[in-house]
């Protein structure tokens, strides 16, 4: 039944390694990202998230 899949899976040597490597790369990337983001300081986060909300340096507040 799976002949149509086997044909392609077999023609590339060690094709299984691709999804494995991909998953591994992403997991490492994601875990490092999580740890680094977790370590951010609270005040800094607040400062950053308020960037769009200061008045853009506008001198005419009616705009």
């Amino acid at each position: 039944m799976y002949k149509f899949i086997k044909q392609y899976a077999e023609t590339m040597k060690d094709a299984n390694i691709y999804p494995m490597v991909s998953l591994l790369i992403f997991l490492v990337f994601f875990i490092v990202l999580l740890v680094l983001v977790k370590k951010m300081k609270k005040e800094k986060v607040a400062e950053l998230s308020n960037i769009p909300l200061d008045n853009d340096g506008q001198t005419d507040p009616t705009i």
Partner: protein, 711 residues
Amino acid sequence: MQVEKFYYDNRIVKNFAYATVIWGVVGMLAGLWVALQLVFPSLNITQYGSFGRLRPLHTNAVIFAFVGNGIFMGVYYSLQRLCKARMFSDKLSNIHFWGWQLIIVAAAITLPLGLSQGAEYAELIWPIDLAITIIWVVFGWNMFGTIIKRREKHLYVAIWFYIATLVTVAVLHLVRSGELPYTWLRSYTWYSGVQDALVQWWYGHNAVAFFLTTPYLGLMYYFLPKAANRPIYSYRLSIIHFWALIFLYIWAGPHHLLYTALPNWAQSLGVVFSLMLIFPSWGGMINGLLTLRGAWDRVRDDVILKFMVVAVTAYGMATLEGPMLSLKSVSAIAHYTDWIIAHVHVGALGWNGMLTFGVLYWLVPRIFKTQLYSKKIANTHFWLGTLGILFYAIPMYWAGFQQSSMWKQFTEAGQLKYTFLETVTYMRPFYAMRSLGGTLYLAGVVFMVYNLYKTVKSGKLVADEEAEAAPLAKDYTPHTGEHWHRWIERRPVQLMVMSMVVILIGGLIELVPTFLIKSNVPTISSVKPYTPLELQGRDIYVREGCYTCHSQMIRPFRSETERYGEYSKAGEFVYDHPFQWGSKRTGPDLAREGTGNLKKTDGWHFRHFREPSSMSEGSVMPSYPFLLENELDVSSLEAKINAMRKLGVPYEKDYEKRALTDLNMQSEEIARNLLSDSIRVSSKKEVIALIAYMQRLGADISKIKTATVNK
């Protein structure tokens, strides 16, 4: 520190805003028109107005003209303010604006003329591709110039999304546009068959990701806090959203090719990464919606927030549905049906459309220093838009399920229960309802045009808006142990490079093996290059956009092999530049049109092209009487054969010199066949070439029943 005075450029924002609105109306009108063509085929007026040519016009107009200008409008407004600096160069801004509009006009002229490369969302011909590249560089130059002379130390998350968009769209466009020109207007893609399919859906999927999604997420992260007047719910989440999204998106393309002749490992890779995409996507949606926590009462009164809430919700729905659709078992049902059309319109009408409208209503009164003319009209627009989406999507979902189950249904005796034509005529009421949804949505936009027009009239453009901010300290010394992301936030170039690395990892792992490893595409010895006449016919097939309704890819399901014949093999497409697998079956699959049970006489095809409903009653296919009139253009035949040979198609040495003789011989034979069927037609007409191509489809592997697979 001395505060500097400077001016924001609002004129360029205004220009892009106008372009967004105008092209939005044009793109949606084209959409409504093609929707109606499926209900009333007589609306296919002349060769320039047939469905196959107008449907690419609709998709290109909505993606690159409406959303494209929407992106630039939002970026030029927000980038200046987030950087506290005027755009780097007014000249570049103007070149960008007019260049982009010229590209759109060129597309609007060439597509109805049938100048197309036959790849979805990448139809535009090579000179336009070149122009897009130049204008994109201008945009990037202007953007980075602005970022570099900024007065705000940190790059707000919206800017990262803009940078990732810039970089990735450039990479996608360059790879997809790999093409070999053979005349000033026409070219063949470098890639063939399976490789072309993989490149196409890597591109197509990421056009959705990096043209319709990431830049709009940037807009969401800027304009939603602005409109709600509160910071984004979680800045930390936005960092994760950004990196995880751009990392994952680039891998997911192969989910468009499940159960096709694409190597299985690539299919699985696409599925896994598509599933993982739920998390960053929903992270982003939740981040957007929770920004309104404690302020939901305002959503009741504030029409701009209403638009944005529906937009973000539609983003969430579409990005949950996408990963679900990429599961193989779901794809088996949904692929080729109108379900996919529903899915993309939840994204386009809901996410892109509603967010664009919200931003327009927020921004136009501001740059014209006035108030929105009428909140009531805007509210009407909101409800028309929301209802329009529902009236559009629900019939299409229904149609998709229905279509798919009708295709797959067998009688007790084990035969297919419905002919393809029965499933087509069954769809017509749904297509009609969908047109109603589209009309409602467009009506809402007309209300918006009026409202914005009155708003603009009541104010005056603040072309140069005064602002002041302190310049960045040149001698900034980072304190020890500072956070990595603060480091990168100050360095746009590094941020760009890192985004590029992140997207290239996925791109390379996905694409390179298929290019390098020949055994990925097992060759089939009986598959031979097209004859000159078939090649010409194939070019007509591409020109007429037949791929917008017909697939050429039979999946290995009994319901498909019973209906169409042997499932498609990768090796059958090695000479196809471009591949024409298609993505939608408004009409039946054509992969085995020239062989087995499906084979028809030349006369049948002739009559069918002249008037499809005369052969298949109730068919919604356009008539092609002009193919019977137009003389086949053989002037570039030599160039075509040479180009194909350069791309690896094994035409013999000097074959181009004999090609015309062969072409004439084959076309005269078809004309004789037609004559014996009492059809008198000159062998020089285009229809002859197209018939030749139809009769060739799928014929190769039936020549040898047991196809030899060379490993």
